[in-house]
């Protein structure tokens, strides 16, 4: 029952996607828009296949930047959230600032990194770190700070130290928020690396896109977009699986109660 339900669950959006692609293809063919303005999905896919090995090369370096940046962002976010959660005055001093800094579109700072750190990998990784850091730290911190105080009291009354409380109570109960933050970050990570590459790079999907754009190869640009979307999707999915793996107790959510 549950299984077939989940298949239907996945099937409906897939059909919707196919319908949209069909409308797109039909509209492009009927209106005879030239391919250098708007290619149809069929042409994009054939471009994707023709340039696959080249695209794969560029994808590799973009992915590397995104993964390193994401990994570092998660580590830094974890340490910051831990420190703020443990030290109350630090939390009061820094938490509001963190929320406000979220309103700065980090991407607009990317050109500065180019000036400061050159054309290599470092500025891209920095952009990814900045973009991925905030969702993780804010979510994790909210999770840590919103633990049931009665639960903390209970553990204190049983003689638990601060680290015991963090390890046994706060961290596990903050895990859903932590993963929610990581999913948001993961969907931004590839994008951040690509934007870093737009501004100046010798390789990567962003570099490939700027070259294609300059020669009016919209199909190549969109092929790269497809890869970026696919990568982000896979990445979010991987974190989904990790979440299920790390939090086995949520799997029983819909099972019936025993009396």
């Amino acid at each position: 029952m549950k299984r077939s339900g989940s298949i239907a669950h996945n099937l409906v959006p897939a059909i919707t996607l196919l319908v949209i692609l069909a409308i797109w293809e039909g509209a492009v063919r009927l209106s005879r828009v030239p391919a250098y303005i708007m290619p149809g999905p069929v042409q994009i896919i054939s471009t994707l296949r023709a340039n696959f090995s080249l695209l794969l090369n560029h994808t590799g370096s973009t992915m590397l930047e995104a993964l390193i940046g994401f990994g570092l962002a998660v580590i830094i976010a974890f340490l910051v959230a831990f420190a703020l959660n443990q030290v109350n005055w630090l939390n009061q001093a820094v938490m509001p600032l963190l929320v406000v800094t979220q309103t700065i579109p980090i991407i607009t700072l990317a050109p500065l990194f180019l000036i400061w750190f050159g054309w290599g990998m470092l500025p891209k990784v920095l952009v990814v770190i900045l973009v991925c850091f905030f969702p993780v730290v804010i979510n994790l911190l909210n999770g840590l700070n919103s633990v049931d105080p009665d639960l903390v009291n209970l553990f204190r009354s049983m003689g638990a130290g601060r680290m015991d409380v963090f390890r046994m109570v706060k961290l596990p109960s903050a895990l859903p928020a932590f993963f929610a933050g990581m999913k948001i970050s993961a969907s931004y990570g590839v994008m951040a690396a690509v934007i870093g590459e737009w501004l100046g790079a010798q390789q990567g999907l962003g570099y490939y896109m700027t070259i294609a754009q300059k020669s009016f190869r919209v199909d190549k640009v969109l092929a790269a977009v497809m890869i970026i979307a696919g990568l982000s999707l896979i990445w979010v999915k991987i974190i989904d699986w990790m979440e299920i793996l790390v939090m086995p107790w949520t799997r029983h959510e819909r099972e019936w109660e025993i009396d």
């Binding site: 049931d148 009665d150 639960l151 009291n153 209970l154 553990f155 204190r156 009354s157 049983m158 003689g159 638990a160 015991d164 046994m168 109570v169 596990p172 109960s173 895990l175 939090m247 107790w249 029983h252 959510e253 099972e255 109660e257 025993i258 009396d259």
Partner: protein, 244 residues
Amino acid sequence: MSAIDVQGVSKTLDSIETLIDISMSIDCRQFVAILGPSGCGKSTLLNIVAGLLTPDKGRIELNGEDWTGRTGRVSYMQQKDLLLPWLPILDNVSIPLVLRGVRKREAHDTARKYLQDFGLDGFESYYPRQLSGGMRQRAALLRTYLFTSDIMLMDEPFAGLDAITRRKMQLWLKDLCAKYQPTVLLVTHDIDEALLLADTVYVFSARPARIKLRLDVLHADSGQREQQKRDILSVLEAPATTVY
């Protein structure tokens, strides 16, 4: 020497007088219930006995030692089961042992011995959300018991349960206490629960709480129990301004 000795405790919380000069003495292996209107400060008293709050005046002695404002001597069970949703039942009830430094396997072995009596046999690897409310409360009680078995505080432990389950749990707790003989201080607003379980019942006034009545429960026959119930009700329903 009494197990719990509350000596002239007063407490003001957020500039509201909550407890005024509460004194009570609970002997070893006694089951004492505190009855009172809701919000009268019963839970505050338990928090003070548990050491989570420090009284403004007065002191708490446990087995003759001063434990005012210090946690760790008594175990404390609340209305919420406060089980960790991410741990199976056996791990949940073993927590107090693990926190004391007992190795996980030994803690599990110790906890397993009690599963039968606490009605959790066969459910040790279930997660809390897979269990019914009554079972979760029994698991919470086992965790409480494994922390400190001789003095236990309970704050309306069955208030969140439906009437039928609550009745079953009360009868079960009565048998359990007859077998393990702990000292229990129970806060409740259920007169029947107090008369069923307790040896002695204290009735508190509305806030600021004072002791209005101390009653040794007669377990002899139902007629006497009805009389005692009427006595308690008449005290509880007396005008709030009356001071005894």
